[in-house]
Symmetry: C2
Subunit: 460 residues, 2 copies
């Protein structure tokens, strides 16, 4: 390859967490390494760098304005020297010829391509009109426009509205919280047992909290269709039942937006997700990060699809740095995640890290797991709230394999300590005996996470 004349043309497709982290870091690193970069970012939408994770809380009325969710505006990106072009959809790529084609037929050349296209929500056929658009009062929760539409729908539907949430994952639970906090009726319908990223002992507790907060749960059921009044939903049918509904939230997952790469010879999962290395490299001159990618789980060296904002930002940053001659790496993850369900008196913090029992068995481990109940603070303190911690370790190597937590205020972020042990490849004994902080408002003298680990250690 001959040296390019002029600056290296970096074209980033997608202007959210991964893409903009990559763009900014590339420019920062280039100043250090002396590379000359011309960074262009294309996005089919109208917004940049917003927190999709914050949308349920905006919908709940806790966040003042959608603008609050925008970390950096288009103007701020441009001021940093990025040629940001919004409303530009990339529909095809010629990786050999190093060109992209946009929806309007424009051809954009690149030296380095960064794919950060994210993943739109999956919308089942029953939710769509013939023209592909969604029925009235049916929506997803993915973009700022979705959030704004939901605020309008809530206002129009009134205080007696009943919301059916289809999907029992993180988004499903968060939107159920949103609707319950608004005082609306809520039904959650899910194919599985709800919060399937947790072991049964813990997802049962989340389900109980949903019910305690007034939600109706329909588990193990698939939605089969809607009742419509003209074009607007009035009810939902599932295999085994039906009910009236004023609003329907579809939260059954998202799919990588990599269709424009069809036919390209790139490492890709069955769902279309790319598999970049720790530096974000997918192929020569092609990079990727964020929700359009799988991430490598260090514990069992498996590629898994975990479209989380924190991976997008970290991998994007490593990508931008590496592209500009740096060496930063996003060296995989340990499958950590957190959410909450908090309505009135019901407050549950929900977190996981590491392998599930099924993951561990698939990886050839001999897992020993135990659920431990305790309190988030010394039992005699007013701060003490119940917490349940599931810990799993390998019988032979004693390595910590996974930890899951469901509990009151202060429970959730305890998962980070377990994640740090997993990151280091530590044992359940490390977790049980290491030096964690204790004072009565914060913990028991043996921190409950360590009691949970110790009880497993005693059974190996």
């Amino acid at each position: 390859m001959s040296a390019p004349l002029g600056p290296t043309r970096v074209v980033v497709v997608g202007a959210d967490a991964a893409g903009m982290s990559a763009a900014h870091q590339a420019l920062r690193t280039a100043r250090r390494t002396g590379r000359e970069l011309a960074v262009t970012v294309l996005d089919r939408g109208a917004h940049t760098s917003y927190s999709a994770c914050g949308i349920p809380y905006w919908m709940a009325g806790e966040v003042g304005s959608g603008d609050d969710l925008v970390a950096r505006t288009a103007e701020e990106h441009r001021a940093a020297g990025i040629d940001l072009r919004l409303g530009v959809e990339v529909v095809a790529a010629d990786l050999r010829g190093r060109t992209l084609t946009t929806g309007t037929g424009e051809v954009v050349g690149f030296d380095e391509l960064v794919v950060a296209t994210g993943a739109p929500a999956v919308v089942p056929d029953w939710a769509r009109r013939d023209d592909g658009s969604l029925h009235g009062r049916v929506g997803v929760v993915k973009t700022l426009d979705d959030g704004a539409a939901w605020l309008d729908r809530f206002a129009a539907a009134g205080d007696d509205a009943h919301v059916v949430v289809v999907g029992g994952g993180y988004i499903g639970v968060e939107v159920a919280e949103t609707a319950l906090r608004r005082g609306l009726g809520v039904t959650v319908i899910t194919r599985g047992r709800g919060m399937s990223m947790l072991e049964d002992e813990l997802s049962d507790r989340v389900n109980a909290a949903l019910v305690a907060a007034g939600a109706e749960l329909v588990l193990g059921s698939e939605v089969t269709g809607l009742d419509l009044d003209g074009d607007t939903v009035t009810g939902v049918h599932w295999d085994g039942g039906s009910r009236e509904a004023d609003l329907v939230v579809v939260a059954i997952g998202i799919l990588p937006a990599t269709g424009f790469l069809d036919g390209a010879d790139l490492p890709m999962a069955a769902n279309g997700a790319l598999r970049p290395d720790p530096h974000g490299r997918v192929a020569e001159h092609v990079w990727a990060a964020g929700d359009c990618c799988e991430v490598r789980r260090r514990l069992d060296d498996q590629w898994v699809y975990r479209p989380l904002g924190t991976y997008a930002t970290k991998h994007g940053r490593a990508l931008g740095d590496s592209l500009a001659g740096g060496a930063l790496a996003f060296d995989g993850m340990v499958d950590t995640a957190i959410t909450r369900f908090s309505v009135g008196e019901v407050h549950l913090e929900i977190a996981r890290t590491g392998l599930s029992r099924a993951d561990a068995e698939a990886a050839g481990h001999d897992p020993v797991a135990l659920l431990t109940e305790g309190t988030t603070a010394s039992g005699y303190m007013p701060e003490a709230e119940p917490i349940a911690i599931w810990v799993m370790a390998d019988r032979t190597t004693r390595r910590l394999l996974g930890v899951q937590v469901v509990g009151g205020h202060g429970a959730g972020k305890r998962i980070d300590t377990a994640a740090a042990v997993l990151w280091a490849g530590g044992t359940v004994d490390d977790l049980a005996w290491m030096d964690l902080s204790y004072a009565p408002p914060f913990a028991t003298a043996w921190e409950v996470l360590q009691v949970a680990a110790r009880r497993v250690a005693e059974r190996l």
Copy 2:
């Protein structure tokens, strides 16, 4: 040594966290290993297994009763097969002859001695009457009896009382919180700059919070004497000033209760603290754990005096197990601690782990440290509160050396994640890039602890 006739006589001196953890664990392990143990516990006081750390919260009125602080009663210990003798003070030991002498002249023989005598509060001469007892309305905060006496004193002194707290460490700050929560006037007098276990940038924030909550601070000053009305305190003098006082709390430290071992050839620090190995062994047939001991800091292999309840329980448990033929070990610590200062609108969580800058320099490191400010949750969430995080790493090895945190709700327990990295000997890059949990109510997309680490990593 010939095999003993009958069970091994284990005598534990001290019936609080370390001693009772050791006693119970020894009996548990003995059932597994088939050892025959006769466990006797002697304590000069009237209470067992109480949370000294909880006493300030009991004094504040947050804990209903002193009994709530008792983890296990004397009856429960006896029911577990422990011969518990309260009100028995050990005044001398003959380690060669394997006997103890009590205050009443009784001689108690042992095969294995466990020293878990703790550490009474240091009381300066100015606080004492000629007979050694404390002046009226002057007290320490160490035992359940102390706590009960304070509740009486608070009740007698009335709502307008002014409390002078001598000492600006953990206990000093906690007692200041107690008195302020009770609506009393508070002055804190300390020799140093207050919270000297923190770097200046952070202890300054604690001082500012104390002042914001209405306390008067007298830094860098030593108390020189009291004004007395008859036998009762009415004022406090220090080098540079004086003020009226209705109550005086002495919280300037504690000293290991190892006087009865004077003359024994045991590894002992200048303050009289013992130095047991990870199994609690001090010498043949002599074991120790808890506040009468120093603990080994793994990071620089130094013995330091850190009389904390969590070390007492962990080391006691390892001791009991090892004494009965097990292999559990308390393999040192990384100098983690936490407290809070919470009065009205002022809520600060305060935590540290690892080395101070001075420690690091003494250990030959080339430390790079930086303070980072951020929020405990995504900035747009109502849960977001300010947090300041100090991170220090070694320039050459990039190893994480220390982390300190001062911030709002949820700030404090973040220290555990840093402690886990220190425990594993990880780098500042590990902390910056590892997989910690993110959701808007709990963190920013780059967890603030990781941002703080990343900023240091960028400067190495």
